[in-house]
């Protein structure tokens, strides 16, 4: 049967991992490729790079990172951050990304999702949704790391981008991100149940129980986390064993 996915996410800036990965002895903990290889060996089900490079001049650093990662890791790789055009997508896929995650550009122009899906196939188009709760049972879509309101309802927006061809949703609760207090389960479930495509839950993981809740109660088909893995608090294997022990279908190859 299909297994739930555990996805570590690395923030990459100017070709370097922000903060770095400290769970194994890496020669260079800031090298995204070394971190990716470590997660590949640790049994991660996929890997996510979020490119937070701000300056335009350094935007191309991510292509080299992706290309070197794809040559060394035999696992799926998703890359998000700063993707504005189908040419950006093409370059990332040619560098070796399996999927790209688009956020702001899709909010600005919804047709971009359709164009991307038609050109490259829905299977490689992930649409990111950064959401904040605005009323009980209501979440609004935000951009720019939670600073800019869009006025769009997160659940309606998810339905819309899936209809346009998004093959997967990467849902982040901006209320929970960085708090280590767990996923926003009500949000996760509202979006997961509203769409027919897989959903990656993100934002707020601090314990292994949070991962369990994201899948079991939030109906996510994948769970994404950063700090709990990067700093060696838990290994990927511990997370997967823990989830399996609670009856969730996990890959323990």
């Amino acid at each position: 049967m299909l297994k739930l996915r555990v996805i570590p996410c690395l923030d990459v800036k100017d070709g370097r991992v922000v903060k770095g990965v400290n769970f194994v002895n890496l020669r260079d903990a800031g090298d995204p490729v070394e971190c990716a290889i470590a997660y590949d060996r640790a049994g991660a089900d996929e890997l996510c790079f979020l490119d937070i490079t701000a300056s335009h001049e350094n935007r191309d650093t991510i292509f080299d990172v992706v290309s070197r990662t794809a040559e060394a890791c035999f696992m799926p790789l998703t890359v998000g951050g700063g993707i504005r055009t189908t040419d950006d997508i093409r370059k990332l896929l040619l560098a070796g990304a399996d999927k790209v995650s688009i956020l702001t550009a899709a909010v600005a122009r919804r047709e971009f999702v359709r164009e991307a899906a038609e050109k490259f196939g829905s299977q490689c188009i992930v649409v990111g949704i950064d959401a904040k709760q605005v009323a009980p049972g209501k979440w609004e879509l935000f951009t720019h790391g939670g600073r800019n309101r869009t006025g769009l309802d997160a659940v309606d927006y998810a339905r819309e981008v899936v209809a346009l061809g998004a093959g997967e949703i990467l849902l982040t609760s901006m209320d929970r991100d960085g708090t280590r207090s767990g996923f926003d389960i009500a949000l996760t479930r509202a979006v997961a149940d509203a769409v027919a495509v897989p959903l990656i839950a993100s934002g707020g993981v601090g314990t292994l129980d949070h991962l369990v809740a994201g899948a079991r109660d939030g109906h996510a088909t994948a769970v994404l986390a950063a700090s709990i893995f990067h700093f060696g608090e838990f290994t990927i294997r511990q997370a997967k064993d823990y989830m399996a022990a609670r009856g969730l279908p996990m890959r323990l190859d």
Binding site: M1, R5, A70, P76, L94, G96, A97, P198, L199
Partner: protein, 216 residues
């Protein structure tokens, strides 16, 4: 031994080439893995791999747009009997027809249609995306030493359409996703995987090594 990975504009093939190189090195098989869009290179190769991501019709169009490629493939694989592996849409192209966004003729090497996945359980998501076990229907050299079954190794899938061969004997292994879905198909010197061996870590590298050793 030379392996031609056909490059017809369907996505990045560097990771596929690396996976084949690593599998060959691990298995102690010498040889050269080449990305090529040259029909003559396909004719000269000992083994042929057809990858593919995206839509069936787009991939077929890409293949058709290389002058002489279909002829070279037929010569090498059908007349020449060289081992052939199709991956993902490259596997679906083995079919006679693809029914994704209209009807498109495939290579027609294995009779059957490629149709939309419709899992019996409506809660199951489309695409079928992630790691799933292979359920072997019969033994096959490509599965030598690969643990199959619910407690076996996993392969990475990402697809919304699937291949239904007319002859069930052409299905070597399936995957369970709201019903049985063909995961590995084949006949004679021809095989195809719906999953991505180049993204499937242990199982993938083992299957690729088996393909490199395969003497159909």
């Amino acid at each position: 031994m030379s392996v031609a990975l056909i490059d017809y504009g369907s996505g990045n093939l560097h990771s596929a080439r690396k996976a084949f190189e690593l599998a060959a090195a691990n298995a102690g098989i010498g040889g050269k893995i080449t990305l090529t869009s040259d029909p003559d290179a396909v004719r000269r190769a000992d083994r042929i791999v057809l990858p593919g991501v995206g839509a069936f019709a787009d991939c077929k169009r890409g293949l058709d747009s290389i002058a002489g490629m279909n002829e070279a493939l037929n010569e090498a694989v059908i007349a020449g009997g060289k081992p052939f592996l199709g991956i993902c849409v490259g596997m679906q192209l083995l079919a006679a027809r693809g029914l994704e966004h209209g009807e498109t003729a495939g290579l027609g090497w294995i009779a059957g249609d490629v149709v939309a996945l419709k899992p019996a359980d409506p809660a199951l998501k489309i695409p079928h995306m992630g790691w799933n076990n292979l359920l072997a229907r019969r033994s096959h050299p490509l599965l030598d030493g690969v643990a199959t079954g619910e407690n076996g190794l996993h392969a990475y899938f990402v697809h919304s359409y699937h291949f239904i061969p007319d002859n069930p004997a052409h299905i070597i292994a399936t995957v369970e996703y709201g019903g049985e879905v063909a995961a590995l198909v084949g006949r004679d010197n021809i095989a195809g995987t719906q999953f991505h061996p180049e993204k499937s870590q242990k199982l993938g590298l083992a299957l690729i090594a088996n393909f490199l050793r395969w003497r159909p």
